[in-house]
Symmetry: C2
Subunit: 312 residues, 2 copies
């Protein structure tokens, strides 16, 4: 189990290698929702997403011998870039297993951060086989994108900073995919602002976390369909128990609600966020009548979006 | 002529009604250009552009009797919104003459800020006739979008803040349209950081400022063609002399260079800027070999862009 001390040590450990991201507000969005909202802008994090925090923490906890062999993961998303950059900053190698059909722009980003890409056919089985081969061949340490206590500890630091900046938040909203950010956020609130509720937003078309939350056990994601491409994964056996114990609610949102929230952030706050980031605001907007007059934090998880493929 | 004291008084006068905008940097853009660049983010200004500064200053200099009659201008761009919002914040009326073919989104924005729109046929003559009628009928005070000393003083405060935050800039780049921002920036550098050069970026397809600068007298804009829709106007008899005396150079850039610079800012800095904002960075990139290792300020003028009509 992750302790309060683990989180405080994590914050110290990683701070030289990440940005302390700003917290922004929009008077217009506040008026529209009738609440005071503080957006933690992880879209301004290094490589463009909160994943940099967890990747950095996981890498820094390796032994010197392990560091010499490098790290490996499977991801076509932000964790791939985060691990590549976090490894580069420590002078380490990062091996990233990606499906051959991953967008070229994502492959380029990983290469740009110095990661070595190993392509595999786009099936779960091929991905795992390829990863095993890479680990066996290189001796690299496998780091899971979210189902890893050191990764969760790192992700928790975003909410820790938000709580340091605003110590009277009544609710914090975060998106949920594999649950790394959500479980970290929930632990941060539990230890450092116990009166603050943590609520998740999740796409209706990828609602395994909501289903798991209802059923009290992990329900796997099957055939997720959503524009929020950072939220396609299933919960893990390390993230789910934390979520079950420390998250108050999961609110599901439709695709149009995600796109509308994303557009609101772009137009009114003049910042670039990816669809997954907008899911948390979409959830708040959906149930805004419950949050009138409250002081609310929202974690904007990232800003990596392909500008030629916008939904508006 | 605008004095140093005028600028200091302006900064005091308007500060309660505007945002002090942040200054951001991008390590990746710095590495790409080989210089230290500090972006003054006027896209985060109230209503989304630096125009709020000049509009506010001009309104606050009116007498109480004038304030009772309200203000009027002709603009389909950011100054229309700025004047509407600045007037609203002082409890005043704002009459905005707009061509009937102006985009609905721009009309809605002005209305959203409480401005009263008077439509005219889209010719220079109709615009001036309509404005005269409005002024005669309402008694409102006409405020020019840029060729006005109080407006120029207000625009100067963006560079004043940038210089306060970074007092060792070797160059400041700003875009030039009618010259309000550029002349204000040049005066701010002249008085508060005299060793700092001021350089303008201008679209090749709307290069009246460059032509005027070469010829030493105002050359009017004719049939401008550029995506940078904030830079379509001609210099004025109040902005040009300041530019002639205090600006070091005007660099013209092609449309593709503007779009590439805009995309770079969106992708790497994760912020929304309008094409006019990107013209200054495009100019720096075009002549980057001259600026290796230098410390450079860039004024990002605004972030009002229609998301459904992006150039990428």
């Amino acid at each position: 189990m992750i302790s309060k001390e683990n989180l405080l040590e994590t914050q110290q450990r990683i701070q030289a290698f990440i940005h302390r991201t700003p917290v922004l507000s929009s008077q217009l969005i506040n008026e529209m929702i009738g609440a005071d909202i503080y957006f933690k802008c992880e879209n301004f994090q290094k490589m463009g997403a909160f994943k940099m925090r967890g990747a950095t923490n996981a890498i820094l906890q390796l032994s010197e011998i392990e560091k010499g062999f490098g790290v490996a993961t499977h991801s076509s998303g932000n964790f791939a870039q985060a691990l590549a950059l976090a490894a580069k900053l420590q002078g380490m190698k990062a091996y990233i297993v990606m499906p051959s059909n991953a967008p070229q722009v994502k492959k380029n980003a990983v290469k740009g951060y110095g990661g070595e890409i190993i392509e595999c056919t786009p099936t779960l089985e091929a991905r795992e086989t390829t990863l095993t081969e890479v680990v066996n061949k290189t001796g690299a340490v496998f780091l899971h994108p979210y189902n890893d206590y050191h990764v969760i500890e790192g992700q928790a630091t975003a909410a820790m900073e938000l709580i340091e900046d605003h110590n009277d938040l009544e609710v914090i909203f975060a998106p949920v995919g594999g649950g790394g950010l959500l479980s970290g956020t929930a632990l941060a609130a539990h230890y450092f602002s116990p009166d603050t509720k943590v609520i998740a937003g999740e796409p209706m078309g990828a609602d395994d976390a909501w289903q798991s939350f209802q059923k009290g056990e992990i329900v796997l994601q099957t055939n997720p369909q959503t524009i929020a491409d950072g939220l396609l994964t299933s919960l893990g056996d390390k993230t789910f128990p934390i979520i079950k114990d420390h998250v108050s609610d999961i609110i599901r949102v439709e695709e149009e609600e995600i796109i509308a929230a994303m557009r609101l952030i772009w137009e009114r706050m003049k910042i670039v966020v990816e669809p997954s980031s907008a899911v948390a605001l979409a959830a708040l907007i959906k149930e805004k009548s419950k949050y009138k007059g409250k002081k609310i934090g929202i974690i904007l998880s990232g800003g990596n979006v392909e500008l030629t493929k916008l939904p508006f």
